[in-house]
């Protein structure tokens, strides 16, 4: 069964092309061009993974992330950003992002991250609860994010 992905970015051209490329890779992709549209969509449909642009006009990515996690604490969310800052990256991690990738993104890496996040999500709330017994939640649920933050900020902000 194909992974259901909600792709969120305010640049409609970027959104359309990336959606097509992920669809070619067998994913079931829905698009949203704003934070507000994202919240409307998740109210009606469940997505295994949400790929979210960090910087958008109006409600920005972190605000959307916070709302999405409040609605569904086990929602798998991958953040995409032009430039990550240490502050935003750390806040994203604390809020519960599964991973963070910088644009331009390698499609193979993104597809791998989406598939990995979808399999974590398939374990569901029970899996997430079981993980809490193994250590701090951010270390068991988001190893990819921690590594990417280390890579992105190796030279400072």
């Amino acid at each position: 069964m194909s992974v259901s992905v909600l792709l969120v970015d305010d640049d409609e051209e970027f959104l359309a092309i990336l959606a097509e490329r992920l669809t070619i890779r067998g994913m079931d992709v829905t698009r949203a061009a704003s934070g507000e549209a994202t919240l409307d969509l998740v109210g009606a449909t469940r997505f295994q993974v949400i790929v979210l642009d960090l910087q958008m006009p109006g409600m920005d990515g972190l605000a959307v992330l916070e709302r999405l996690i409040a609605l569904n604490p086990t929602q798998q969310i991958i953040l995409l950003t032009g430039h990550a800052t240490v502050t935003k990256g750390m806040r994203a991690m604390k809020l519960g992002a599964a991973d963070l990738l910088e644009k331009p993104v390698d499609i193979r890496e993104l597809a791998e991250k989406i598939n990995a996040a979808a399999s974590v999500g398939q374990r569901g709330p029970a899996g997430a609860r079981a993980g809490q017994f193994l250590g701090p939640p951010q270390q068991t649920r988001r190893p990819g994010l921690l590594q990417n933050l280390r890579d992105l900020f190796a030279c400072g902000e």
């Binding site: 640049d11 051209e13 970027f14 092309i17 990336l18 097509e20 490329r21 070619i24 910087q55 958008m56 006009p57 109006g58 920005d60 032009g82 430039h83 910088e102 644009k103 331009p104 993104v105 499609i107």
Partner: protein
């Protein structure tokens, strides 16, 4: 005096950092779309090798998208180059409209993020003898504070006129922007630049515009 120049330099460095960070973000976005278009071309070729026919019109469209985004990235680099040179210019003769256009282009992405639209009023070009970078810096302090004070869907129109031997720059704001508060914030934050440019800053009595008045020729 050296401490005062230090404050002007420090504000300038902070301004330069904000602008170049924003420009690098714009470039990243342009590169991201070029990357996706190029990647899509590759994907379509791989699919054609598996038997799906290539659509020449689609290929033309993608190729045109790449060309357009490369042009857009080139415009961003030109803007960066012009801005970088303004930082090392001495006192020069410059058109105030050109300075506004540069600032609007540099700030547009940040304005859009905050839901503010920027425009230039129709007015004839006015030549000023000045340090363009210092004016750009002060305009940025004005715009940055407008972004902080304004809600979404606000509009700012930049204009200028001559008054005796001075030039008066106006930032006409939509009614929701508290211009009195803006004037006092800019006066405090931009004080070294305002002193450097021998500028007076005030809110219009009707509260619709911020007025920046300075000599048309820079006084050393």
């Amino acid at each position: 005096m050296s401490s005062y120049h230090g404050k002007v330099d420090s504000l300038g460095l902070s301004f330069f950092g904000s602008m170049t960070a924003s420009i690098s973000h714009e470039l990243k976005n342009a590169l991201a779309i070029i990357n996706e278009n190029a990647g899509l071309l590759g994907d379509l070729v791989v699919l054609s090798e598996k038997g799906r026919p290539l659509d020449p019109e689609r290929m033309k469209t993608i190729s045109e998208n790449i060309r357009r985004r490369v042009q857009s990235a080139d415009d961003i680099v030109r803007r960066l180059n012009r801005f970088a040179h303004s930082a090392n210019q001495p006192v020069v003769s410059a058109g105030i409209r050109d300075i506004f256009a540069c600032m609007v282009a540099l700030s547009e992405r940040l304005a859009t993020m905050k839901g503010v639209s920027l425009a230039l009023a129709p007015f004839d070009e006015i030549e000023v003898q000045t340090l363009p970078f210092v004016i750009e810096n002060l305009l940025w302090i004005c715009l940055k504070n407008i972004f902080l004070l304004a809600g979404a869907e606000q509009r700012v129109v930049l204009g200028a006129c001559r008054e005796a031997g001075d030039i008066v720059v106006t930032l006409h704001c939509t009614p929701e922007i508290p211009v009195e508060q803006l004037a006092s914030t800019v006066a405090a934050e931009g004080q070294p630049l305002i002193f450097f440019l021998r500028m007076q800053i005030q809110a219009d009595p009707d509260g619709s515009s911020l007025r920046l008045r300075m000599p048309i020729k820079f006084i050393e």
